[in-house]
Symmetry: C2
Subunit: 227 residues, 2 copies
DNA sequence: GTTTGGCATATTGTATACAAAATGCAAGAC
DNA sequence: GTCTTGCATTTTGTATACAATATGCCAAAC
């Protein structure tokens, strides 16, 4: 016996509801700050309020929702400061992932990453933004996988999701895009050279650029001083 | 008007239940791996199953409980690897907190920390372990406060709670205790000197020592290879 | 005109009832 | 004796009913 200890996935209603809500939030169908009416939403999702409320608790734990006692639940609306703080922590986490990756990376991993990098550059040169984002995500996930620390991966993922909830197709102008691709090249080079400190620097710089782009998007969308 | 936007605290039942459970888990009254029967526990806590289940969801999000669909909820039982991974991430987070703190610390902060350090050394020299732990916690919280990044603080706290759940009054022998106190001295010195890299090193070393102590405790308590 | 108080309504919080699934045991087959 | 099968029981999952709280409106007071 031993079916690999992985029972076939059967989502419970709260989990399914949470999954659905997560998507709605990230895609922006549920806007930041939006108040969620339990009865209404439960009817829309076709579940009763009980599992929906459990879904709320899960997403609140992930920082995607905010719950106020007796006043309901709303989609989190991150302030400029929140975004700054989150990106700072992301930077620290990814830098650490880089360090771990340096100590564990194999030549095979590097070959894989180089292949992905080539794909990314192809997407870049044909100006295919969606494909670029897609590969970008794969590369960062891959780095985390090489670091081989599930706690780190989970923490990173949770924070990243919260940031995605800003539906930040950030205004990535050509100059920034070029820079990002170049940083990715540096990243793989540092990893291939097993140069931890260099990788740290690249990753932190990379994250800071992303942060900058998102903050600029926020500035364009809402008035300064706003929430 | 502005009552500082802080409404007077009125805990809802799920929150109160979660709080209580958290304490029970950390104090070890609910042992790692223990299965939690909903009906039984709800009767013991004097609430119905509905709010208790919401409490379960919250604590699962914090990583203190594990929920298996249709098989109930149990207290998390961290493996050796889990502990290693968690400590690694804690180290990265605390090192980053140190960096931030260096850039923001005031002379007043340092005076406060020196006072706390003196208290800690007093507790150390009269072999008062509980007092030592208490002050130790205050100091680390203080460092986080100086870093002034709420996202970082929250992430750190969550992880730290999970580790506390190991009920690790780790076997802190005299040599290790001496070393820990010395590291704290170095920590404050590096902070006072505004030396970020030095503080990083001290904090990571400090965390590694803690990790070591906890892992040794685990080795003594259970058989190797075990969960 | 502004503020206060009270009521009607809407919404969240909690308990309970019912449904579905898992568990354990016992009887039968081999 | 061991393995399977089916049933009774327990436990978790979900819906719904009821309670408590918040919200919004309107009237009355100043």
């Amino acid at each position: 016996m031993d079916g690999s200890n992985i029972p076939i996935a059967r989502l419970t209603l709260p989990e399914a509801a949470a999954e659905r809500l997560r998507t709605l939030i990230i895609e922006g169908a549920l806007a930041p700050g939006a108040k969620l009416n339990e009865r209404e939403l439960s009817e829309q999702l076709g579940v009763s309020r009980t599992p929906l409320r459990e879904a709320f608790r899960m997403l609140a734990g992930d920082g995607l929702l905010v719950q106020l006692p007796n006043r309901g639940t709303q989609v989190v609306a991150m302030s400029r400061e929140d975004v700054q703080h989150a990106f700072e922590v992301m930077g620290a986490l990814e830098a650490f992932a880089g360090e771990l990756a340096v100590s564990r990376v194999t030549d095979g991993d590097i070959a894989d990453l180089r292949a992905l990098q080539a794909e990314m550059e192809a997407a870049h040169s044909r100006h295919d933004l969606p494909a670029y984002y897609q590969i970008n995500r794969v590369i960062h996930d891959r780095l985390n996988a090489i670091a081989a620390n599930p706690v780190l991966t989970h923490t990173y993922r949770t924070l990243n999701t919260r940031l995605h909830a800003l539906r930040f197709r950030s205004n990535l102008n050509i100059a920034k895009w070029n820079q990002a691709v170049a940083e990715h090249r540096d990243m793989i080079a540092a990893l291939a050279a097993r140069d931890g400190p260099a990788l740290r620097d690249v990753l932190i710089k990379h994250l800071r650029a992303k942060q900058q782009a998102v903050l600029e998007t926020m500035n364009n969308e809402k008035m300064p001083g706003g929430n």
